[in-house]
Amino acid sequence: MARGLSRQQIGVTVAMIDSYGDLVFEMSHNKQTRRGDPIRELDFAAIEARRGELGMSDGQIAQRIGLSEIQVMYIRTTMERRRFRTNHFQRLLELGGGKRFRHERFTAHEDRFQYHDDAIALREAMTFNPERARYYAEQGWWADDTLSGWLARNVAERPAAPAVILDGVVMDYASLAARVDRLAGGLHGLGLGPGDVIAVQLPNVPDYLVGYLAIARLGAVMTTLYMPHRGREFATLLGHSRARAMICLSDAGGFPAAQTALDLDLEKLQSVIAIGTDVAKAVPGAVPFEDLAAGTASADALGLPLPVAADPFLLLYTSGTTASPKAVPHNSHTMLGNARLGAAEHQLSADDVILSAPPFGHLFALYSFHLALYSGAANLLLPAFTPPDLAATIEAGGATALFAAPAHMAACLGMGLFDKHDCSSLGLMVLSGSAVPDEMARAVDRKLPDCAINQLWGMTETQGALYCRPGDSIETAATSAGQPAPGVEARINDDGELQVRGSMLFPGYFDNPGANAAAFTKDGWFRSGDLASQDRQGNIAITGRIKDIINRGGVKYNPREIEDLLDKHPGIAQSAIVPMPDNVLGERACCFAVAIDPDIDLDGLCQYLLGHGIAKTKLPERLVLVAEMPLTPTRKIIKGRLFLP
């Protein structure tokens, strides 16, 4: 409408707008060209001659092109409307305090980074109970922790301090940060950005940490694959996580990891980044890690935005590596807040040299790294666990804090390695990953009298939820996982199940509603699936798994004490008792064992157990000898993979 007249009344059609629109717009005052200075010089002839360029009134345009003035006005304002960009003034806001606008440095809104749908879906999964979130923030448990922030702080405070040590080769914090910055720039160059999932399958080498920190710097999300994972696990985990890139070895001890990832031909997997010799030739199609890490376009120079604590940055798989994966997302609030609060509890400082026996693919190892980074300590690396290498690394590297699984220690004790190596530098040993046998803890304590032996209970979902503190007695440390970490609440329900909640708790499994429904109580506590008991001092001991409970015709019992007894039997290296279906009783107990004595039999074992006071109803009723047990990276037996022959 113009002057209250409709388009019909002034005779403007869409065809007319399309035909004359550009012309009218260009002739109007919207585009002005002035040659010389004719108006000021009162050069009337020149003014008349150049009126069109200077921008004409609607009436003048109407006369020139043969439309009515009102038609021109209608067409002009329509064109102004069509071209009008609502966010134009944002350019001004980009200038900030007294900066000058530089066309070449400005990126229009529409050309700016956008999270893709998968990244948004993962961020959607970071849903927390608002009341709890507020409480955690008020308590300071959730703050502005990020790996990038911690790294920058270390660079500022202790640039030359050792950050990563492998085989005596030291990378200081400044060098680590520089390599991370370049790699992050390189990853950005591959089109990777905030919210993108990047999978990592590497042994515990420095570039694992460089990769992890670079992924975090980008605001991307790391998902980990264990070294034993092969094509089948790759397909499941890379597919479920919607990974856009993978960092792996070109040759993982004979397994062509990079080529395997490429061969999967996954639609979302844009880049396979390989570490190895002559990657470009060995794995055509893979991007050499070193090319990215040696690049010149660093993340800081590119001005890539820093991540924030609420961004998801880890997606870890707990089970279901081949079907129905359970993916645990964490952001820096849940993950790094736990480490920040834990560093003081574990009494760690910048003087510590921290060693993880488990692989970084496992959260426990990442927890040790987070503690080290927060504290400004050194990370002493052991690429792959063997008992002799672990003991030798502790000795050679002067480790002051060791994060290990009970099985790691059991193996070292069994081989007498604490007698062969001087491990007296250790002041703290945090044991986690599976139940810590009382006797083993005491044995380690005897070997390392100046080292605090602390059990820690945690899961990928909960991280370090319960732990002993360095001042705790060996009595407490050998028999319990101590007390809740700061920010953590624990309770034991009527069935004996340990349930936790707190600032460290993951928000829920990513893309697995079934698992989420089962994982939380109605009032929001996480069901650990572990059985626990609590002593008068509040120390909590883990006594078994709910799933491991054997229900023999209504008699329910926890086979843990029987397994502990069997593990002490001279003819048995390792045992596991699992329920086997039974038509009459519902379930009976079956004992899987790795035998030292090949002649061991069920009768003999039962006599042994009866002799140790085990009730007849709890005796195993079948014995299956296996060459080795299926183990988690923290060397916990995976009972679910013990199948009856």
């Binding site: 113009a2 002057r3 717009f25 005052h29 919207n30 585009k31 002005q32 060209t33 002035r34 040659r35 010389g36 200075d37 108006i39 000021r40 010089e41 009162l42 009337f44 003014i47 921008g55 004409m56 009134s57 609607d58 009436g59 003048q60 006005m73 304002t77 102004e80 409307r81 071209r83 009008f84 960009r85 609502t86 966010n87 134009h88 003034f89 944002q90 350019r91 001004l92 806001l93 980009e94 200038l95 900030g96 305090g97 007294g98 000058r100 606008f101 066309h103 400005f106």
Partner: protein, 301 residues
Amino acid sequence: MASTKSADTEGAKQAILDYCLRKGALAAGVADLEALERIAPPGHRPSDLMPKVKSVISLGVGGQTQGAWSVPAKAMGYFGSTETRAYTIAYGAAFFIEGMYQTPAIYCPPDMDNEKGPRVPLQSLKLHAEIAGIGARSLAGDILLHPEFGYMYYASIFTELALEPDQPMAENPCPAPSCVSMYRQIGRTPCQKFCPVQCLSGHIDADGKQAEMHYDMAACAEMSQQYEAVPALLAEAMAAEDAQGRDDILFDPDNKMLWYKMSVGSGGLLAQCFECMRVCPIATKSPLADPIRRSKAKAAT
């Protein structure tokens, strides 16, 4: 009301201009009506507004305080609005003329022509000032500059009193020598280089004079005149796919800011951005462009 007194036009002109200067104008002059009538397009000539007009008086007041040039762009956007002080003086001058000379006068409305729609002013105050010799068109989208006072805001008074016209300025101060040397080096002047929407371009000739000036006024207006954003956002909201999309458009922080400005009539970011003037040596550094220096000069006399 008719003219009852045969005015001493020289004396009257001086008295009127003095009045303007006394009230705070930095410069004032009388534009040649004949020239205005020839140059302004039909409908926008002085006589279209005031049929018996005999004289057009133009005055300019100081643009920004010196401090304004040192604040971030987003703050500048809040007080870069059209200078109402100039209108106040013009309004007073119209009364002054009527009171002193019993001759009709009006304060020329600075606003849009409601028959021609937004972006079309009733009169070009810029043209009046230029013809009255108190500003010359610059390469920065024809913003008028004055060699002494830099960049000013203008207002006009029309009267049926006949006054002797002034002449346009003999020399155009734009481009300043430093702009010429920058242009010779990089092909652009400061205003052209730093305009956030890159709506300025043009050339300087071999003598260091303006040869060509191109100004994309639509882009410049988009930068600031957000009234056009209101219907655009409503249209976008109506076309949104779902309720969330609609909410995002209507209630996102930027747009809520816009509703705020509209509802309370705040001038924030409704003026030009004036980044071009921020980097202009004439606007910021000419002898009396700086109000601090002006007051010192005044104190010294």
